[in-house]
Amino acid sequence: MSLSRRRFLLLASSALATPPAAAAGGQYLAAPGALSAGRWALVMDTRRLARPELRESIINACHAFHNVLSRPGPRQMAWIRQQDFSSVFTDQVPPVMPAELSSRKILILCNHCANPPCVRVCPTGAAFLREDGIVGMDFHRCIGCRYCMAACPFGARSFNFEKPRLAAVHPAFPPRTRGVVEKCTFCAERLAAGLPPLCVEVSEGAIVFGDLQDPSSPVSALLTENFSLRRKPELGTQPGVYYIL
């Protein structure tokens, strides 16, 4: 029998292929007490975030909890940061506007878009859209190609150029390793434990989180009573973070 090179390789590789690992035995269930929603949304009342100390404490709390190494420099990482109104809402700035508003500091984070470009370009499925609207990150699957960083119009993603060397590691949320992209996850692990996102908890009521599809939720009430803006609406990504001015 003549054995072609192609057939030899096929046979050899099928012999080497490992059988699938035995399926795990038990059942997987949602954690009791976990918060759930049809569409999670976050509303920032920027009028109540005027105090710099409050904004700093929100940023520091998030970064300390999630082990984000936020050292200033060209490779600075951030899950949440602050910028002037005019640089956050670039396309929505009228030529003449109140000076207080144009220089007002706005907290920015991942918008958890309903139509997320980062998810569309991710080649490994590390960035994924959950049914409740959260744009999740599976740090295990990220290969560090940074397509998502190029695709995100909001600069919400950070890259680990080196293994993070933290002064103190907060053990509840493992730090990421070199070559992994990271961003805000709306504190998915806290929601699963029945807790609101950390920024909401430390914001003294200035940041509100809830289900946009539930008309009786606090976010729905706030957005019904106040006019709000979202970032770069013309791009059609449908952000889930709303700003009241």
Partner: protein, 126 residues
């Protein structure tokens, strides 16, 4: 016949001889006992000992995907006990010494799982 097999035969023979060397050298010496030490705390693991020994990697991969991607963070084991899906809060709470529990086996088997690149365990002072 595979074309060129006759010319390749001496090379194959040398490879086979070299590969056989390791078996002859190791003859008589026992492979290290891979049974990991029992956990510092707790009376039984999530599943029974045999299952954990053979399939802990599949279980942990299932836990990882369930928690991160499926947002299901509760595992009901075959014996009906429920566990929180968390390496830090569940596994490490009993297996407090990673160097003794995980590393001893993995080193013998030249397995280098990438878990520890991110998941950190503060080992109790020896």
């Amino acid at each position: 016949m595979i074309p060129g097999l006759r010319r390749a035969l001496p090379g194959v023979a040398v490879f086979a001889a070299l590969a056989a060397c390791t078996f002859f050298r190791a003859r008589g010496s026992a492979f290290p006992d891979l049974a990991p030490p029992l956990a510092e705390k707790g009376s039984s693991c999530v599943e029974d000992r045999a299952f954990m020994a053979s399939s802990h990697m599949a279980l942990l991969a299932g836990w990882r995907d369930a928690a991160v991607r499926g947002n299901t963070r509760r595992y009901v084991a075959l014996d009906g006990r429920a566990w929180e899906i968390s390496l830090e809060k569940t596994c490490f709470s009993c297996h407090t010494r990673k160097s003794a529990f995980c590393d001893s086996c993995h080193a013998s088997l030249l397995a280098s799982p990438s878990c520890w690149e991110c998941h950190v365990i503060a080992e109790a002072a020896e």
